[in-house]
């Protein structure tokens, strides 16, 4: 049987790509491991290697073709001794589609965020008439670091693969080129060690940005984040400070399993002496990361891999800095308050749209900062809507939602028309299987259900 070569998925989130160029031609003999073609994804150019052996009989998609969907047949391979005539049957047959398989179809939670919801940046800080520039979250974070590094030569970046590789998720793209290896430092895989070195360097007068490839690996370094960074000011009677930023992607990515999928907001949010920020869109990522770098305290800055590639408006001003500790209302509403942070802000906005269609006017509060919590904004909202739903990716037990619910119960008890509801991951390590992962993680529909519940409509 002639073999179809299909457009491969080269990353967990790739759906289509550009078939940049063929490195073999029709008639070539191919053995497994040969590089067949170059394919471009949003993050990188990758080489496609042959798995099967044979003769490349026909190229179906030319080099230079854009938007080629994953699994489209791109060429046909004949085994030794096979005839070109065998081709016709195959060409009319549809390519095997994994969508027809029992798994993958719609299982991945990120099918829920295909369209980045629109947010009207309504910060009072933005002067009337300011122009807006669309920027990806990834580039907004990079711009924040670059601007602060230009402004202050004490600021430097270190972490695994941040320099030559340009960041495992390409967040530090271009920084090595601009600032050189003294200020953009590739570390060995030694989180406990380099986090400690970072804290020591901060004691010594520098302003380190320590990137964790993901926050899952910061668990190795937690002792320094908590015992060395967060507590030293207090223990020294105010003598020492530790101006450091620990940043990187936090929470679940896509199907990367239990050890690589955790939301640490409640873990760090527990600790006095730390500032904890978990922003959602590009403007907040930029404005808050700049604030974090300037802040004289240790800051844990929780990003989200699954929004790195999304584009949002950023105000085109010289020095876009936002205050730490201020929540924002991303959608005003009258009937129910949804309090959330990070990627779940997008889900909450989607949920609010669905609720609107059913006549429920939800107000969405983006916490932005987890510690200190802006309870004033939350309480004012609940006093208006009289109903509270919290939404987070982490486990519920001892979580951010638990803290908010407690604070609202204490601070606005008389205003509540229903007990608060919490939306969060199920209380289990995250499974790899597509269906179990989707069941475990909260999505827009869970928020809709909880909101209807507190409105006594579900």
């Amino acid at each position: 049987m002639p073999t179809q070569i299909l457009m491969p998925a080269l990353s967990p989130t790739m759906e289509e790509g550009t078939l940049a160029k063929w490195l073999v031609k029709e008639g070539d003999t191919i053995s497994s491991g040969d590089v067949l073609a170059e394919i471009e994804t949003d993050k990188a150019t990758m080489e496609v290697e042959a798995v099967d052996e044979g003769v490349l009989a026909k190229i179906l998609i030319d080099g230079g073709s854009e938007n080629v969907a994953v699994n489209t047949p791109i060429a046909i391979l004949l085994e030794e001794g096979e005839e070109m005539g065998d081709l016709s049957a195959l060409e009319s047959a549809p390519a095997p589609s994994p969508a027809a398989e029992p798994a993958e179809a719609d299982a991945s939670p990120d099918t829920q965020t295909e369209v980045a919801p629109t947010i009207t940046v309504s910060d009072p800080a933005i002067p009337e008439g300011t122009a807006m520039v669309p920027v990806t979250v990834r580039d907004a974070l990079r711009d924040a670091m670059a601007e602060e590094m230009r402004a202050d030569d004490k600021v430097f970046l270190m972490g695994e693969e941040v320099a030559e590789y340009q960041g495992a998720y390409k967040v530090s793209r271009g920084l090595l080129e601009e600032f050189g290896p003294k200020r953009v430092i590739d570390t060995p895989i030694t989180e406990y060690g380099f986090a400690g070195l970072g804290v020591g360097a901060a004691f010594g007068g520098l302003k380190p940005i320590v990137e964790f490839m993901t926050f899952n690996f910061a668990m190795q370094a937690m002792d320094h984040i908590i015992n060395s960074a967060a507590k030293t000011r207090y223990m020294s009677g105010g003598q020492m400070s530790c101006p450091i930023v620990f940043r990187g992607p936090n929470a679940a990515a896509s199907r990367v399993g239990a050890q690589h999928s955790q939301d640490y907001a409640p873990w760090y949010g527990h600790v006095p002496g730390l500032l904890v920020i978990a922003p959602y869109d590009s403007a907040d990522c930029k404005g808050l990361l700049k604030a974090a770098i300037r802040n004289p305290n240790p800051v844990v800055f929780l990003e989200h891999e699954l929004v790195y590639g999304e584009t949002f408006d950023v105000p085109d001003v010289d020095d876009w800095v936002l205050p730490i500790g201020k929540a924002r209302i991303v959608r005003p509403g009258e009937d129910v308050t949804i309090v959330t942070y990070s990627r779940m802000v997008g889900y909450a906005l989607q949920a609010a749209e669905k609720l609107a269609a059913e006549g429920i006017d939800a107000e969405v509060v983006d916490l932005r900062t987890i510690r200190p919590l802006d309870m004033e904004t939350v309480l004012n909202s609940v006093k208006k809507t009289n109903r509270l739903v919290t939404a987070e990716e982490s486990w519920g037990c001892m979580g951010v939602g638990a803290e908010i619910a407690a604070a609202v119960t204490i601070g606005a008890f008389d205003y509540l028309d229903a007990p608060p509801a919490r939306v969060h991951q199920v209380e289990a390590p995250l499974a790899y299987a597509g269906n179990l992962e989707a069941m475990a993680l909260p999505g827009p529909d869970d928020i809709v259900k909880a909101a209807k519940g507190v409105c006594y409509l579900g």
């Binding site: 299909l6 457009m7 491969p8 998925a9 080269l10 990353s11 967990p12 790739m14 497994s32 491991g33 590089v35 993050k43 990188a44 150019t45 080489e47 496609v48 290697e49 798995v51 994953v70 699994n71 095997p96 994994p98 398989e101 029992p102 798994a103 993958e104 299982a107 991945s108 695994e160 693969e161 030559e164 590789y165 495992a168 590739d186 060995p188 895989i189 030694t190 406990y192 060690g193 899952n216 690996f217 668990m219 190795q220 199907r255 990367v256 399993g257 239990a258 050890q259 690589h260 199920v426 289990a428 390590p429 499974a431 790899y432 299987a433 597509g434 269906n435 179990l436 069941m439 475990a440």
Partner: protein, 343 residues
């Protein structure tokens, strides 16, 4: 590349590796296993490309001789533990290709019933203790298995595999110290494939001769041509004997190479195509085995092709099984979190 394995091999060319003592049966077994690992990994790469495998998937292609040679050096009851690049170790220990592949697709027929994925599989029956996603974390765990062996007096040895990148984690040295201090039966197998993601060993390690890393703990170390399965087996036999006889841990640094990117989404721009091709063409671990078999006339091309065909059939069955096996039922979501208490 000053320390590419092709150079290491070149320096050993004076004492040709092909003349190490072996038998026809042993070499054919190595050939079958190493080919199984390679074809399995190629198929996994293909299924990943079709969207049937998701998340992280780290292929073992190029490193087959390390696990095949170490498997030949151990006895029933000895354990293996490694990181996330673990498919080869499982196949070497005789875990079913169907069950491993079905775990890669996240299905009920997988070794972890779909809950673990590529990086997290285990088989107590086959003495495989994972499958760990946090770089370096398996090293104290492996030493701990050895502590249990010592405590229980069961005579078993723990083989603890980790990469050149992992070799820089602090817990590795904490483990070295305790393993030597307490004379634990563990062999630390460093799979030095020259890169940790995009970072070459020269850019991450002040001492790149990793077999020396035990010196200050008094742990003997050996550097081994990890592309030569017989060299691996011989060093493995020495190390396992050392550990089993109560002399404590040993370190084996396997000089090897990974052909593919770090995981499926690595564009691998940190090394040249030529560097990879050079190893592939001049230092391939499966080619060595094949050449020796042909030289000794233990089998001809046709017979080896037959083995290849059998291996492809096993792998293709595994792939079919992995597609057909259903996803785990919803009722699995909240199971296996805590062990039931015994009354």
């Amino acid at each position: 590349m000053a320390k590419s394995p092709s150079k290491a091999a070149a320096s050993k060319a004076a004492a040709p590796k092909n003349l190490k003592k072996t038998t026809k049966a042993e070499m054919l077994e190595f050939y079958q296993l190493m080919l199984l690992i390679r074809r399995f990994e190629e198929k996994a790469g293909q299924l990943y490309g079709m969207g049937l495998i998701a998340g992280f998937c780290h292929l073992y292609i190029g490193q087959e001789a390390v696990v095949a040679g170490m498997k030949a050096a151990i006895k029933d009851g000895d354990q293996m533990i490694t990181g996330y690049r673990d498919h080869g170790h499982m196949l070497a220990l005789g875990m079913e290709p169907t069950g491993v592949m079905a775990e890669l697709t996240g299905r009920i027929g997988g070794y972890s019933r779909g809950k673990g994925g590529s990086m997290h599989m285990f088989s107590v029956e086959k003495n495989f203790y994972g499958g760990h996603g946090i770089v370096g974390a398996q090293v104290p765990l492996g030493a701990g298995l050895a502590l249990a062996n010592d405590y229980l007096g069961n005579g078993s040895v723990s083989l603890t595999f980790f990469g050149d990148g992992a070799a820089n984690q602090g817990q590795v040295y904490e483990s070295f110290n305790m393993a030597k201090l307490w004379g634990l039966p563990v062999v630390f197998v460093i799979e030095n494939n020259q890169y940790a993601m995009g970072t070459s060993i020269e850019r991450a390690s002040s001492e790149t001769q990793l077999y020396k890393r035990g010196i200050s703990f008094g742990i003997p170390g050996e550097q081994v041509d990890g592309m030569d399965v017989l060299a691996v087996r011989e060093a493995g036999l020495r190390a396992v004997k050392h550990a089993r006889s109560g002399k404590g841990p040993m370190i084996l640094e396997m000089k090897t190479y990974r052909y593919r990117g770090h995981s499926m989404s690595d564009p691998a721009k940190y090394r040249t195509r030529e560097e990879v091709n050079d190893v592939r063409q001049h230092n391939d671990p499966i080619d060595y085995v094949k050449a020796r078999i042909i030289d000794e006339k233990w089998a001809d091309d046709a017979a080896l092709k037959e083995i290849d065909k059998e291996v492809r059939a096993i792998v293709s069955d595994a792939a079919d099984y992995a597609r057909e096996s259903p996803e785990p039922p919803a009722s699995d979501l909240m199971t296996d979190i805590l062990a039931p208490e015994v009354a």
